[in-house]
Structures are given as structure tokens and as C-alpha cells.
């Protein structure tokens, strides 16, 4: 059995930041990730990040992954790659992990930060299981990590940031984007991202949804339809799209299986992406010693995930008695940072969700 002070589950932006923060406080940190490489979904982000210098704004996502990995290397952190945490022995406080193909390893940590991220939602329509229909993030992985394009002509479903960004990246990879559609009446993502794809000639059609997909074995086309302000299809507005690829970018769900299993109190908060753990200001869940950070805590941007990781990592170490003398400053700075990031109009949804979570937690 491996023993450590702070275990971090997940090596994406939140987990890496948590590991760095906890190690800086003086704790022994073990970072576990199921992939072959650290970085999580940062590895496939080719666009420059928003935010400010503290969160590496204007740096491309994959470069941020490299910066965080370099920072991690400077610290004494044990990294277990190709290792999937598959369960939690509640009575003993032990995590069970599958390491490689056939090894089962146990990990006992005094504190744990769960930074498992999120997974893509799907959308309900006839033939939504045809090969050629992917999560938009899946296409990003295929294109930007493995250098393979999914097809020739794409329909993007969802005009949030992921839909807009992946559309732009498809164009950069030489793939035609037939249109971006969204059932909502307005564009959900940042308007600067929308304008970027518009000036490449890609139409954005709000108040449209997918009526059905079709194809013999693989996707060959789709029918889209206009919806009214109650999201009901308007007969006679159907349009056929000649496409071989459809990307679904209709939001993410937090990956919280481990938190459920550990007995953390959970609440269903739509604004935060679904079932999320109840947590305090330090990102500690209702199970003492189990912290959460990033998309597993609530669906938001990678910038805030990094700050949350910092908060969780700092507190996990501090509550065990580790302090490099900067705990109070660092904690205060990070909490202020999160407030700043969420203080504008695009932070309203997340702020409302957090408020609701706090209300329902009582």
C-alpha cells in the first residue's frame, strides 16, 4: 500500500495546481492520473486562454500544461500515470487503483483532492448513436492530440465556448464547418469566439436544434429545425445538412462517482452542471479530508479550475499542520481571484449556482 500526505486524483489544470500548492506548503503529495501523460484536457487546447497573467492568459492551453508540468517537476511530487482510481474503502480511508493493465494498488492518504474533471453530455434525437457523431471535445482530442481529422464537413451543435472553439480548430485543421446551431436564442459562448468563426464564413444559427440524423452505418446527414422560444420545433422550418460529422457541444457533467462513493453530500444544481458535492470555502466536501477542485466541483473554465486547485491543495496541506508561512496570504489571494473571475456578467450563472448550492446544503 502506498502512503502519502495528500493524494490528488486527476492531473488536469485543477489537480496539477493542487499538487503544486500542497507541495509548496511542505506536504508529501501523490498525484494519480489515468492517462499516459499529465495535463488533462489542457493538452488539446490550442487556443490562448482568457483571464489574467496569474492564470497564464494569452498562453495556449497545451503550453499551460507544459508550464504546470515543469513547475511540478521542481517539487518533490510522486506521480502515478496510467493509474485509475476505481473505488474508495470508506472505513479505512483507502483508495483502490488499477495501475497499468492488471495491477491493483491501494493508496492511503491523510487528505485527498478529487480533481476528476467532467464528461461531455449527449443530446436526444433519432439516430444520435451513428458513428460520425462525437462529443466536440472528443474531436478536439482526435485532431489536436493525434493529428487526425474526423471527416470533411461538420455540423456543430452548441454555440457555447466549446462549440465555438472547436469549430475554429476544425477550420484550422482544414475541415469545413457547415454551421453552428444552438437551441438557445442567443450565443452562449464568448462573443469574440463567435466573431472569429463568423469571419471565416461559418454561419451561427441560434434557435435551431437537431431533428434527426441519418446514414447507412455511418452519419451521412442531418435534419435541423428551428425552435420557438419554448424550444418547440416549428413545422416547416426543417433543413437538410449534408455532413459526415456532427459534434455535440451541449455542456459537461461533473465526474463525481468517487465523491458519491466516499459519501460526500451531493446536490443537483443545473447551473453547476448537475450533481455536485457540497463544499465549503476551502473546497472541502462534507467528508472531512476530501477536497474537490475544477470541473468535478462545478463546470467552469480552466482558469478558475486552476485557482480552485490552489485553494484545495493549500488547505489540504495546512489542515495537516503544513505551512510555509504564506498560507494565509495565498489562500486569501486565491479566494479573491475566484471572486474577481466570477464578478462579471458571464459569472452570473456560476455565482447563482454556488448560491443555490449553499442554500440547499443547509
Amino acid at each position: 500500500m502506498i502512503k502519502t500526505d495528500v493524494a490528488i486524483i486527476g492531473g488536469g489544470p485543477a489537480g496539477l495546481s493542487a499538487a503544486i500548492a500542497a507541495a509548496d506548503m511542505g506536504a508529501h503529495v501523490t498525484l494519480v492520473d489515468r492517462n499516459q501523460e499529465l495535463g488533462g484536457q489542457l493538452l488539446k487546447q490550442t487556443h490562448m486562454f482568457f483571464g489574467s497573467r496569474e492564470e497564464y492568459a494569452s498562453t495556449r492551453g497545451f503550453d499551460i500544461a507544459n508550464i504546470l508540468k515543469e513547475e511540478l517537476k521542481k517539487r518533490n511530487v510522486d506521480v502515478l500515470l496510467n493509474t485509475t482510481v476505481v473505488g474508495y474503502y470508506k472505513d479505512d480511508g483507502v483508495w483502490g487503483m488499477e495501475h497499468g493493465e492488471d495491477k491493483f494498488v491501494k493508496l492511503k492518504a491523510k487528505k485527498t483532492v478529487v480533481a476528476t474533471g467532467a464528461m461531455e453530455r449527449h443530446l436526444l434525437f433519432p439516430n444520435n448513436d451513428l458513428p460520425g457523431i462525437y462529443g466536440a471535445g472528443a474531436v478536439q482530442t482526435l485532431m489536436n492530440q493525434y493529428g487526425v481529422v474526423p471527416g470533411k464537413r461538420v455540423l456543430m451543435v452548441g454555440a457555447g465556448n466549446i462549440g465555438l472553439i472547436v469549430s475554429y480548430q476544425l477550420l484550422q485543421a482544414g475541415v469545413e464547418v457547415a454551421a453552428i446551431i444552438d437551441a438557445a436564442p442567443t450565443i452562449g459562448g464568448y462573443l469574440v469566439h463567435a466573431s472569429k468563426v463568423r469571419r471565416q464564413g461559418v454561419p451561427i444559427m441560434t434557435s435551431y436544434t437537431v431533428k434527426k440524423a441519418y446514414g447507412n452505418g455511418v452519419l451521412e446527414g442531418a435534419t435541423i429545425v428551428k425552435v420557438d422560444n419554448r424550444f418547440q420545433p416549428i413545422p416547416g422550418t426543417e433543413m437538410d445538412m449534408d455532413i459526415d460529422t456532427m459534434c455535440i457541444a451541449v455542456g459537461l457533467n461533473p465526474l463525481v462517482e468517487l465523491l458519491w462513493q466516499a459519501g460526500c453530500e451531493m446536490r443537483y444544481i443545473p447551473q453547476l452542471g448537475g450533481h455536485v458535492p457540497v463544499k465549503d470555502e476551502n473546497y472541502e466536501t462534507t467528508v472531512e479530508g476530501i477536497y474537490v477542485a475544477g470541473d468535478a466541483a462545478e463546470i467552469e473554465e480552466a482558469t478558475s479550475a486552476m485557482v480552485e486547485g490552489r485553494i484545495a491543495g493549500l488547505n489540504a496541506a495546512y489542515t495537516m499542520g503544513f505551512d510555509n508561512g504564506h498560507y494565509c496570504d495565498e489562500r486569501e489571494k486565491a479566494i479573491k481571484r475566484l471572486q474577481d473571475l466570477r464578478s462579471g456578467p458571464v459569472g452570473v450563472k456560476i455565482s447563482n449556482g454556488l448560491l443555490k448550492l449553499a442554500e440547499e446544503a443547509v
Binding site: 490562448m48 482568457f50 494569452s58 442567443t186 469566439h193 474577481d340 462579471g344
Partner: protein, 165 residues
């Protein structure tokens, strides 16, 4: 107030643009930046990278309001804008031509002297322009800046190019 059109289609309309078009006196004095960033989002690199203090933020969600007394169109903010929303306009390139400098993250890159198709905010062709400068240094970090000539009255219309192959 963001226009319905921008919110629904992703293209700024005249009411949006009115807020960011530099005043005539600023355009007269030389190249200046135009920040087509109409939404309050948590992002401030344009302010961080400006050497002249021409874009000042009090809150990270502020919109970039350019102080044209200070902006000299130096281009430092353009490739650092994660939204690729900043353009440099030089109204005085020649008797009847202006130049638009725009970020361009596509292949193939045009070369200086090439004639390219100029596009508007919808990606529609609106004319031809000559590439007078391609800025692609380490600082640009794979967001090359292309400066292209346009008729003076198209300086606030042209926002993209297409390189014909």
C-alpha cells in the same frame, strides 16, 4: 448594450461598432488599435501587454476602452488578445488606401507583396488587398499579424483575408 445581432449571429452591428470606432482625430494622427470586444468577460491581457497604459482595467471583467491620446498602434496587444478581437487601422497609408492589420492563424500564410481576398465580418469577399507586412515573431506565438491594404472607406469593414491557392 450588446446588439441583438451580435448576440444571435456573432456579428457586430453599427450600434456595437459605434462604441469602438476611433474618433477622426485619432485616425488622422497615425495607426491605432480598434478593440472589437463588446462583452464583459474575465480577461485582461490587452491591458497587461500595453506598454503605454492606453488600456486600463479596474476589474478583470472590464471592457477595453482605448485611450487614443496614448495608443500609437504599436501592435503589442493584437496577438495577445485571446479573442483575436483587436485590429490595427492605419488610415494614412496612401492617398486613397488605408491598412488593416489582423491576426491570422491559418495556413498557408501570405507573403509580403501577395494579393489576397479581403473579407468582412461575415467572411464574405469584399475586394482584393496587398499584403504589406507579415509579423510572425516569437512574441506573436503562432498568431501572425497580417497587414493588408484596403480602400479608405473599407477600413472598418475588412476583418479577415483569404489566401487564394
Amino acid at each position: 448594450m450588446i446588439s441583438e445581432k451580435l448576440l444571435r449571429e456573432g456579428v457586430a452591428d453599427e450600434s456595437d461598432l459605434k462604441e469602438v470606432i476611433p474618433p477622426d482625430w485619432a485616425l488622422e494622427k497615425g495607426p491605432v488599435a480598434v478593440a472589437e470586444c463588446f462583452q464583459e468577460i474575465p480577461c485582461n491581457p490587452c491591458s497587461t501587454y500595453c506598454n503605454r497604459g492606453a488600456i486600463v482595467f479596474e476589474n478583470i471583467n472590464d471592457r477595453p476602452i482605448i485611450d487614443y491620446e496614448k495608443c500609437n498602434g504599436c501592435t503589442l496587444c493584437v496577438s495577445k488578445c485571446p479573442g483575436l478581437a483587436i485590429f490595427i487601422i492605419d488610415k494614412n497609408f496612401s492617398e486613397d488606401e488605408a491598412t488593416v492589420m489582423l491576426p491570422y492563424e491559418f495556413l498557408p500564410l501570405p507573403k509580403k507583396g501577395d494579393v489576397v481576398t479581403t473579407l468582412d465580418r461575415y467572411g464574405r469577399p469584399v475586394g482584393k488587398g496587398k499584403v504589406i507586412r507579415v509579423q510572425n515573431t516569437r512574441y506573436n506565438d503562432k498568431t501572425p499579424l497580417i497587414s493588408v491594404t484596403v480602400p479608405k472607406d473599407m477600413a472598418m469593414v475588412v476583418r479577415n483575408i483569404r489566401v487564394e491557392v
